[in-house]
Symmetry: C2
Subunit: 223 residues, 2 copies
Amino acid sequence: MKRNSKVSTAVIRRLPRYYRHLSELQETGVVRISSSALGKSMGLTASQIRQDLFCFGGFGQQGYGYKVDTLKEEIGEILGINRGHTVVVLGTGNLGRAIIENFRFSSNGFHLLAAFDVNEQVVGTQIAGVPVYHARDLEDFLAKNPVSVGLLTVPISAAQEMGDRLTAAGVPGIWNFTNYEINFNPEKVVVESVHFSDSLLALNYMITQRELDAKDDGGRENT
Amino acid sequence: MKRNSKVSTAVIRRLPRYYRHLSELQETGVVRISSSALGKSMGLTASQIRQDLFCFGGFGQQGYGYKVDTLKEEIGEILGINRGHTVVVLGTGNLGRAIIENFRFSSNGFHLLAAFDVNEQVVGTQIAGVPVYHARDLEDFLAKNPVSVGLLTVPISAAQEMGDRLTAAGVPGIWNFTNYEINFNPEKVVVESVHFSDSLLALNYMITQRELDAKDDGGRENT
DNA sequence: TAGATTGTTAATCGATTAACAATC
DNA sequence: TAGATTGTTAATCGATTAACAATC
């Protein structure tokens, strides 16, 4: 695998989709796929897929296509799935709990080590086998356990502080589920945010456009 | 407000962010802001912000900047926040419940009408004041209540079927939280997916790059 | 071999940035 | 008025698409 110094974020955002589609293909027993077939099923052009893979060196065989399992493995490698990354969850409210109980961290190459909260009622318990510690002990824990990602499901009011504490302790990644855009030093940490609100508003926009278009079309010819 | 026939998705994806930042500014009492100041706080260029707003006609005053409250309101209008859109939740597992209990639908212009599930234990109860009905009664409900968006938090195995049922009943939007890319007819429905997995894998990639860069730099000059 | 499909470069398209006249 | 900042067009940059030689 060739390492490309600068891969565009557009490509990076597609890599997980490739990985997911290839996993599905693998499960349904498909062994080989061409860029055009994969493109069709993903809504991309064959050209774009080949161009994307070319960023990392290209993993196909001319005249044949791509072997589903090796391509999946290569992309998994690029994504860093086999690097033994670890994660801790900050905040065990409804959302934190739901993610701990349902999200398949291991399928994404992560090991979920622990959760933290300030609520004495949950501190000391386990959620789906994951121990919950008091947030005041976060730094102690981080000093003893290498943690790759801190998952923020704390209330908005605590988001910035927890982000700062993770960063100060040297945690390289923050997965932010609060609807707050935390300030951070991009030299020290990578922040990936999941903004439910932004997603719903974008959907709202698209639905609204449909409604307006439908109204417009009412008075127009069907051409 | 001018209606632009074709606004790029890049712009659409930024609109919710503008809305969120303007809301924060409004809360902290800021009345006016220039494109350059807003750009600085959002990590965009002033040019891009003016270009984005120009898609819809531009809402500023030359020599002055933008009034925070009117700009926020205009963008809210563009996003369709005051259109009385409605939503139902399909699936009241951990994630569905977490979203029902925590997500501020009303701040995003939605009214949460009901939830549906197949588990007889929750059917007939309420979650945070929202009634839970049996999934078999979905079509009945949709026939009687105009629903704009169906939120999918069902198991992956049920995702496609529920999506199809929503579409068949004329629901124009699907907000998909299952880690499954549902097939749909783009003429009939808009699907917006929140893929936790894709988000974490992208973060994984970025962290991995840092690790590899750090290793490389170890042997290099500090230039 | 002939056919298929990739790897890779070139062309096109679209999005971002720059520039500046308009104007508050 | 002078200064500031937008609206809007033009220039640049980057990403996608097209093309085709390489080769399995």
